[in-house]
């Protein structure tokens, strides 16, 4: 404390001291060198895969930078789940209840579908939910009330796509559904 020279200025009430030029040079040189060192051996290799010294790679840090961009391509390579197939199935929607029938589809995969209900009209919401989404987000393709619908869908994103039917009547309604295309059945949810 004794070697420190107090500013004692009234204009700014900072009670800190002015260091000697030697200390300043030392502190600044340390800051610059230490900062640059961590930057070149750790931060740049781990964040940008820029590794001029090679130390980042030997520490395994460049793997961090390489890991990120691989993920999306991996999805499309492994995502051959939806082969061309056809299905027809019957789903019974209980009176006063709603249920979902979903398919797994990758972005760009297409299905042709048709369904009709026996015993009355159903409210339905044909929609998709993006894969990995936890916010409850969904995109509706068709929302209506009908007893027969046919159409096609090209999935706008990877995820589960399908119908929510709601039976507002007082007796069960059976839906017979026909699908053809590239998809993977998830089934009733």
């Amino acid at each position: 404390m004794t070697q420190l020279e107090q500013t004692g200025s009234t204009q700014h009430e900072l009670e800190h001291s002015v260091q000697s030029t030697q200390t300043l040079v030392k502190a600044s040189a340390f800051a610059g060198l230490f900062g640059a060192l961590i930057l070149t051996v750790a931060i740049l290799p781990a964040e940008y895969n820029i590794d001029p010294t090679g130390i980042g790679a030997s520490l395994g840090l460049t793997a961090l930078a390489n890991a990120a961009p691989l993920e999306p391509t991996k999805q499309t390579v492994t995502g051959q789940a939806g082969e061309f197939q056809k299905h027809s199935t019957e789903i019974t929607v209980p009176a006063g209840k709603g249920l979902e029938y979903k398919l797994n589809m990758l972005k760009g995969e297409t299905i042709l579908y048709s369904w009709n209900s026996s015993g009355g009209e159903l409210f339905f919401d044909f929609h998709g939910e993006p894969k990995g989404d936890k916010t409850g987000y969904f995109e509706s393709y068709t929302v209506s009330t009908s007893d027969t619908i046919r159409g096609s869908l090209t999935a706008p994103f990877d995820g589960s796509h399908g119908w929510y039917w709601e039976n507002k009547g007082s007796s069960p309604i059976t839906v017979s559904l026909k699908i053809a295309g590239n998809y993977e059945i998830i089934g009733i949810k």
């Binding site: 500013t7 800190h16 800051a31 900062g35 930057l39 740049l44 964040e47 820029i50 916010t135």
Partner: protein
């Protein structure tokens, strides 16, 4: 006054403990938050407030600057004045930047924020007084750097094309969250600093601490400038 534990201190520690997350990011927002912001429509006050608070508490660039600012502030009145100036500065540019859709390069802004940490560390060592012969106005510096920190916050919001509907309300909520986050982080820093100040090691290591502060600023500047030159 900071040497006596305030009755509210425990409460704030609790709040801070809730606010803290194990993951830190100096740039960008995590995936879940991103999903939320993209899917969200209309006004949602509490979520935006939370995002603002979380960004501040986990955004070490803002926190390092604040540590530098309050490092040698002993009186609570001074702390209030400086923190208020910082708050005014960043609130102005956060609101202005988003509402007027001012295009800013996030890397350059974050590099300036990194520079603000170097500046403050050097300033704490009395560097400007030694080199320039006079002390540049510290209050003005906090305010001006506060403006840049606010642009930094604005670029985080601008990364998402948030619907115009409810933008103003959401922005206010985000800003309030930022202040809450800053407040809780500040309390923690102040508690730590006030304990440390009672030990002789505070003065002994204050030079080293400010040098470390400067070096972290150097890292941030290098990190952001590299990002700027490699991605543009």
């Amino acid at each position: 006054m900071w040497s006596k534990p305030l009755p509210l201190t425990r409460f704030f520690i609790l709040i801070c403990a809730f606010g803290f997350s194990a993951t830190l990011f100096a740039h960008g927002v995590d995936d879940n938050t991103k999903q939320f912001l993209l899917a969200n429509q209309g006004v949602s006050i509490i979520p935006y407030m939370y995002i603002g608070a979380k960004h501040m508490v986990t955004g070490y660039d803002h926190l390092l600057f604040l540590v530098g600012v309050i490092f040698f502030l002993y009186r609570s009145k001074d702390i209030m004045v400086y923190v208020t100036l910082f708050t005014i500065g960043h609130s102005l540019t956060l609101m202005f930047g988003v509402l007027y859709d001012i295009a800013m390069n996030p890397y350059l802004i974050d590099a300036i924020i990194g520079f603000s940490i170097i500046y403050k560390g050097f300033d704490n060592l009395g560097g400007f007084k030694r080199v320039l012969g006079f002390q540049p106005n510290t209050k003005a510096a906090v305010m001006i750097f506060g403006l840049f920190h606010g642009f930094g916050l604005a670029t985080k919001i601008q990364e998402f094309e948030i619907p115009k509907e409810g933008l103003f309300e959401n922005l206010i909520a985000f800003n309030v969250g930022v202040e809450l986050g800053q407040f809780s982080a500040l309390i923690l820093v102040l508690i730590a600093l006030s304990f440390w100040r009672r030990h002789p090691s505070f003065l002994r290591f204050s030079t080293a601490t400010n040098a470390l502060l400067m070096s972290s600023g150097v890292m941030l500047v290098g990190f952001q400038l590299t990002g700027f030159f490699t991605t543009v």
